[in-house]
Structure formats: C-alpha cells, structure tokens
C-alpha cells in the first residue's frame, strides 16, 4: 500500500512534483558549482599570480657582487662565477617539477653597439625565449615568454607585421629594448652591429623595466660574444608555491627527519629553493621576496572571499529547497485530512511525505549535481581558460546534503500538515 500511495502521488501530481524537483535540482546545481569553484579557485589564482613573473632566482654560490645602477651593469662582463647551462634541464627532475611553470637563464654581457667612433656600451642580455629542452623522456619548452609574461614585442614603428616578433632561440636575431631603439633610431628588420657582428633586429621589446635600455638575444649568442660556452649568470624560476607558514620558514638543518620530510614534500618556496640547489651544482637559490611573499596574502584573501560566497550560496539554495518543499506540502492539507479521516496515524502520514521528499531529493540531487558540474566547467572555461574538475568524492556529499536539506525543509511543513484538524481540512477551511 505504502509504495502505491507514493507512486500514485507522483503520477497524479506530476506537475507539482516536477516543480519541487526543479527547485531541488537548481539549488543543488548552484551548491555543486560553487563548491567546485571554491575548492579550485586557489589553484587557479595561484596560476594567474604567475603573471607576476619568477619567484625564485638561482645564482652561482661564489657569486661576486652586482654593481648595477638603473639596469646598467658596471662590472666587467667576464668577471665572476657562472652556472652551467647543461645543468638547467635538471630543474625538471626536482621533487616538485610539476609545480615549476618555467625558468629562464640570464647572461648579461656588455657589448659595443654600432661601429667605429659612434659605438657605445650597452648591455646585451642572453636568455631563452621559448627554448625546446628535454629531461629524460620529458620534452618541454621554457623561457621568458613563460616566466616574463609582461614582455611585449612589437615592430617598433607602431605597425603590426608578421615579419617582426620573438627571435628564434637558435638564430642570430636580437630584440632591441624600446628606449634603446628610440635612441638608436632602429626598428624591426634593421641590421645592427653588435660587438663586431652583424645582427638582425627581429622586434622591439617593451618591458617597463631595465630591459628597455638593453639588447635581448638568444643565450647562445651572448655566450659566443664573451667566449664562454655554457655560461649562465642566473636562472629565474617561476614555481607554483604554497603560502608560507610556521613550518616553511624553519631551517632544514635543525629539523627532525619526520619534520624534514614533511617540509621537503610541501611546495613551499623555501623547499623548492632547497631542491633547486640540490640539482644545480655550486648554486644558491633565493626567493624573490617581492613576488613570493605577497602571493600568500592575495591568495588567502581571494580564497576566503570565495569561501564566504560559497556559504551564502549554500544558504540560499538550502532556503530555496526548503521553501519549495514547504509550499508543496502545505497545498496537500486536504489529502492529509482525508488520510487521517480514514484512520492513518501521524507516523504513517509523515512517512509518506518523507518518502516522497527522499525520492525528490535523490532525483533532483543527481540532476542538480550534473548541471552543477557543467556550470562549474563553464565558469572555469570562460574565466580561467582551463577546466574546473569536480572531485568524485563530492557526489555522495552533495546528495547527502540535498537529502538533509529537503528533509529539514519539509519537516516543519509536514508537522503542521499532520497537526491540522482533518475536519477543517475536509471542509476546505484554513
């Protein structure tokens, strides 16, 4: 009898059941989408924060002092220690290699621009633009186009042209800094004489920093100019890190083995620096505090904000589901009156309503979860250009929440419907 009553209720009041089901599905969809976005937002914003550039720099251990004012290096170019370019792909072999977004080696050398008496000293910066490298079976590309996303290359004469752009890493082409280009009156496509070599300007570089006064060339070219193959002055590394906490700032030398393992296996900027030093011989890795230290605060603010909005969303969807259920039950007082007049107890009547609520919650929950997953994916694609993945573990949690909220929303209405005097209900008053 019980299943038949429930079945008939769904059959005869299909439209009302559909409305309640839609309300539940919408509420669950919003809740699912918000939970998915909130759990993934940290990772997404962390990636966006990489547009601030590298957060780690690796230099030779026995490095001499930089004597540099306003981007002009006053030190002889061949002075000091160097890192070995051949060691760089090993960065991909560190424990947190998946967190390393990219790296760029830098080799500044002082060169003469122009020929004869007009020649003047400028800094030529050798680096990777988008260099193809491999470590083990792993092929990847890296360079300033990944680590310095604010660097822009134009033609220098205000016109867009396919002929100007980033130089190839194996070419003899260079980029001319914006202010240097204006001073030297050169633009893309021009031939210039650098350190006695004829080079082609492939584009004009704008960075808003010291590079605007410099030449930027493939690393190999800078190495040829100073006659030191494989030499690298510093390496800028852009890594996804975890905000600093009490553990991250401790000195690894004073840690117990268990604490050390936990520290080593957390993507703190400090532990990544430590691991970079391990793979690159005779190196010293340091966090760039301007970038690394501020990431944590910005990240935690945005995460906190999304968490609060998610609570608001959960609250609103719980209310919407409760309201829909309460309305659906309130409308059926006459039915309750009839059942009670025929001798049904309060328990039997409540059981029917709860069974119906459970069915609605399950169906609405499944539909809402799928819709919410689609919604989250859509948000991820349109805002972050990447997928927001839904953890499968979320499914049972969401269904449980849907059932709980539907029950909680129905409970008050069911209690009132059951308490209602059948006489009034049947007379149509109330």
């Amino acid at each position: 009898m019980f299943p038949r009553i429930v079945y008939e209720s769904f059959r005869h009041q299909a439209r009302r059941k559909l409305l309640a089901g839609i309300a539940i599905a919408l509420g669950v969809a919003v809740a699912t989408a918000m939970i998915a976005v909130a759990t993934d937002i940290g990772d997404k914003i962390n990636r966006e924060l990489r547009s601030y550039g590298a957060n780690l720099v690796v230099t030779p251990q026995e490095d001499t002092l930089d004597v540099e004012v306003g981007g002009v290096n006053l030190k002889p170019p061949s002075d000091g220690a160097f890192l070995n370019e051949a060691d760089l792909p090993k960065i991909r072999g560190t424990f947190w290699h998946n967190n390393i977004v990219g790296f760029s080696p830098m080799l500044p050398v002082t060169v003469k621009l122009g020929s004869g008496n007009d020649a003047k000293d400028v800094t030529l910066l050798g680096t990777y633009f988008n260099k193809a490298l491999s470590f083990g079976k792993n092929d990847f590309t890296t360079g300033v186009r990944i680590t310095h996303p604010w660097w822009k290359v134009s033609c220098g004469d205000g016109k867009e042209s396919p002929n100007c752009g980033w130089p190839d890493d194996n070419s003899q082409n260079v980029l001319l800094g914006e202010r240097l280009a204006a001073k030297a009156n050169e633009k893309a496509g021009d031939a210039i004489e650098v350190a006695g070599r004829k080079l082609t300007v492939s584009g004009v570089l704008s960075t808003g920093g010291a590079e605007d006064d410099q030449l930027v060339a493939p690393l190999a070219l800078a190495q040829q100019i100073i006659g030191k193959p494989g030499a690298v002055r510093s390496v800028y590394v852009s890594a996804l890190t975890k905000p600093a906490d009490a553990l991250s700032v401790r000195d690894p030398k004073t840690m117990t083995p268990e604490v050390y393992d936990r520290w080593y296996c957390s993507p703190y900027v400090e532990s990544i620096a430590y691991q970079l030093q391990e793979v690159i011989p005779h190196s010293h890795a340091e966090q760039i505090r301007q970038v690394a230290q501020n990431e944590g605060t910005v990240l935690s603010r945005i995460k906190g904000l999304m968490l609060l909005i998610t609570f608001a969303a959960l609250f609103a969807s719980a209310l919407a589901v409760s309201a829909a259920m309460a309305t659906a039950i309130y409308e059926r007082r006459v039915e309750v009156g009839l059942m009670k007049a025929l001798g049904a107890g309060n328990l039997a009547v409540s059981a029917i309503f709860f069974a119906e609520a459970l069915l609605l919650a399950l169906v609405g929950g499944v539909a809402g979860f799928s819709a919410g997953a689609l919604l989250a994916r859509q948000i991820g694609r349109s805002i972050f250009n990447s997928r927001i993945s839904i953890e499968p573990v979320l499914f049972p949690i969401i269904i449980a929440i849907a059932v709980f909220v539907t029950f909680a929303g129905s409970a008050a209405a069911i209690r009132r419907a059951v308490k209602f005097d059948p006489v009034f209900a049947l007379r149509g008053e109330g």
């Binding site: 919408l26 989408a33 918000m34 976005v37 937002i41 997404k44 914003i45 966006e48 924060l49 547009s51 550039g53 780690l56 720099v57 002092l65 930089d66 004597v67 540099e68 004012v69 006053l74 030190k75 310095h148 996303p149 604010w150 822009k152 960075t207 808003g208 920093g209 966090q287 760039i288 505090r289 301007q290 970038v291 690394a292 501020n294 910005v298 603010r301 945005i302 904000l305 999304m306 909005i309 608001a312 969303a313 609250f315 609103a316 209310l319 919407a320 309201a323 829909a324 309460a326 309305t327 659906a328 309130y330 409308e331 919604l375 948000i379 805002i383 972050f384 007379r427 149509g428 008053e429």
Partner: protein, 385 residues
C-alpha cells in the same frame, strides 16, 4: 471563525470605500500572518543575500587593489641619463597624487670599500621605503646617525667572513671617506641584496648626489594610474615617468579573473534567492485562491483583483527589500572585516537594484498564479475542488 466574521462585518459597515482597498491589504496580512511572515522572511533573506553579494562585488576590486599595493611601486620616475631629479620633485609628486599615495626617493652612487671593491650605495627615506616595500626582510631598521642597511650579498664585501657582525666599515666616494655602522641585514632576493642603504640626507651630505629615482605606489584603476602618469610627466618634463608593467599587468590580470568569478558566483546566489522567493510567494498566492474566488463572486472586476494582488506583492517586495538591504550591508561589512580586515563601505547605489529586483520577483510570483486561476470558475474553487 465567528470572530473573523464579526471583524469582517465591522470592516464592511464602518469603512468608507476609499480605504477599503488598503484595509483589504492590511487584513490579508494580519489574518494570515504566519503565511505572510514566511513570505516576508523569504523576501528579506533574498534581498539581504542579494545586497551583500552586490555590495561585495562592487567593493571587492577596491579591497583587492589595496592588497596588491603590497607588491610595491607601480610607477617609477627616473631622471634623464646621468642627471638628478629637481629638488622639489618629491613634493610635486605628493601634491599631485595626494597624501594617500606613497612616493619613495632613491639616489645611487658607486663607492669603494677599503680593499678597493665597488659597491652600490643607495640613499633613501627609510620610513617610506619600509611602508612601500613590505617584502623586504630586514633584521633591524637603522635609527641612528650613519647607520645603514646592508644587503645580504653586499655584506660579504664590507665585512668579510669571519669578522664580527655589525662592525663599522669605511667607504669612499670620490675621495671622501665615511664611517658607516650596519644596523641590520636586508634580504629581498633581487638587486637590493647587492646594495647598501643609507639615509637620504646623510647620503647627500657625503656624496652630494641627489635622488635620481622616485618609486610611486599609486592606488586606483588602470585608467586612473595612467592618468596619474600623464599628469606626472607634464609636471616633471626633465624626468621620465613610466609604469611598472610587471606589477600593473599582473594585477589587472588577477583582478579581472577574481572579479569575473565573484560576479558569476554572486549572480548564481542572487538567482537562487530569487527562486526561493518565487517558490514561497507563489505558494502563498495560490493558497489564497478562495479569496480570489470570493472577490470574483462578489463582483470584483478583473482589474481590481489584479491590482489587489499586485499591490500586495509590491508592498511585500518593498518591505522585504528595505529590511533585507539593512541586513545585507551588515553581512557585507562583516565579510569585509573577517576577510579583508577593513570595513566594506555600504553602497547606497545598490539599493535601487535590490528594490526593483524584489518588487519584480514579488510581482511575477503574484501574477503567475492569478493568470492560472483566471481560467477556473470561482464556483469550483469555492466548492474546494
């Protein structure tokens, strides 16, 4: 029941027809106060949530911008090659940008240590530099005459390994020697590590070099900052004013993404709250189909009935919006305090939207059941079928 009938009779006898409409509205609310209260509650909650979300959305940008200012300067003013900035440059910058903006002067010179090594010495205003560059890790800020901040790497040059820390050292610039005492170490992971920082006035007394760079942390949108840059460039024709693209572009990028996410989320939340109101109110109106049938039987025109339910919905929407708005700004302020440690300014501009939205949702949920009921004969409703 008899009480109700009595009251109804009294109302009918004593009230002039003008206030009949108002009385009907009021009675409807009083007699079914439980249902009316639950409808109002749904309205208030929805309006509160919508207000809080809109307030946050409007405010989140300003809030995050202050957080982003921790990344330091977004404008640099640099003197033309080899020159210094005019002496009043800093005062000019501050007069243009107001006191809320931070401007820090820097002067550079290359000095020699006793064993002949070159090191860059920077003259600056420590109080300002400390405020601008939150990320500088400093063991102790200088507070006495001739005390300096020594960069991590510069320390190896001025006080070679083995010598005790904080030992005074001598530097010479163009033949003029000065005795300096390290107050603390500076660690940034960037160029600052190779330099020595000295107070601006002491630096100028020693070297005679005036500041050549001013770093400015300007608050505001990209357009506002660009306007400031143009203004500064006009004011200081002898210098070059340029944005720090690394900071500005990354900030714009992260901000846009965050704003879009908050926007999408807030829209979803507001939509869900509207749905909640719709469900509650439609049930409420549908539940009163007997009133509707009775009015129709007594000869009320369709216009009057529509007007009655519409006025009721509008009243509910208005009261709900006002109460909800007040609660909503409270919630937004609380979120601002918890998350950003700064109050969220209540945006009165949000109120018209909340009010219009509340009334619109209330009207829709009132009119929809009426349209459905219009097709039904009043007699059938009154018979309770």
């Amino acid at each position: 029941m008899t009480q109700v009938a009595d009251r109804r009779a009294r109302v009918a006898h004593t009230s002039p027809s003008v206030s009949m409409f108002a009385r009907m509205l009021l009675r409807a609310a009083v007699l079914r106060r439980r249902r009316a209260a639950s409808a109002l509650l749904a309205m208030v909650v929805a309006a509160a949530v919508a207000t809080a979300m809109m307030n946050l959305y409007v405010d989140v940008q300003a809030k995050l911008r202050t957080e982003f200012r921790n990344y330091g300067a977004n404008i640099v003013i640099v003197a033309k090659e080899g020159q210094s900035l005019p002496a009043d440059a800093l005062a000019k910058v501050e007069s243009v940008l107001g006191t809320k903006t931070l401007a820090v002067p820097f002067a550079y010179a290359v000095a020699r240590t006793q064993n002949g090594q070159s090191v860059v010495v920077v003259g600056t205003d420590f109080a300002r530099a400390r405020q601008l560059n939150h990320w500088w890790k400093v063991s102790h800020w200088p507070d006495a005459q001739n005390e300096v901040l020594v960069g991590m790497r510069a320390a190896t040059v001025v006080s070679p390994k083995g010598s005790p820390n904080r030992q005074p050292f001598e530097l010479t610039f163009q033949g003029k020697a000065i005795e300096l005492a390290p107050a603390g170490m500076l660690q940034t992971g960037a160029g600052e590590d190779s330099r020595i920082y000295l107070d601006q006035s002491e630096f100028q007394n020693w070297t005679g070099v005036a500041p050549s760079t001013i770093e400015v942390a300007a608050n505001g949108t990209t357009a506002e900052i660009e306007a400031s840059i143009r203004q500064l460039a006009q004011l200081l024709p002898s210098a070059e004013v340029r944005p720090v693209r690394q900071i500005m572009e990354a900030e714009a990028n992260v901000l846009n993404k965050t704003r879009a996410t908050v926007y999408a989320s807030a829209a979803l939340v507001v939509l869900t709250s509207a749905l909640c109101v719709l469900a509650t109110l439609m049930g409420w109106v549908f539940d009163r189909r007997r009133d509707f049938a009775m009015m129709k039987t007594l000869g009320a025109s369709e216009r009057l009935i529509n007007g009655f339910f519409a006025a009721e919905a509008a009243a509910l929407g208005t009261v709900g919006a006002v109460l909800g708005f007040l609660i909503g700004i409270g919630v937004a302020a609380w979120i601002g305090r918890v998350n950003f440690h700064a109050p969220v300014v209540p945006r009165i501009g949000v109120f018209p939207y909340v009010l219009a939205g509340s009334i619109a949702v209330a009207l829709i949920s009132a009119v929809l059941p009426i349209v459905l009921l219009r097709r039904v004969q009043p007699a059938i409703i009154l018979r309770g079928e």
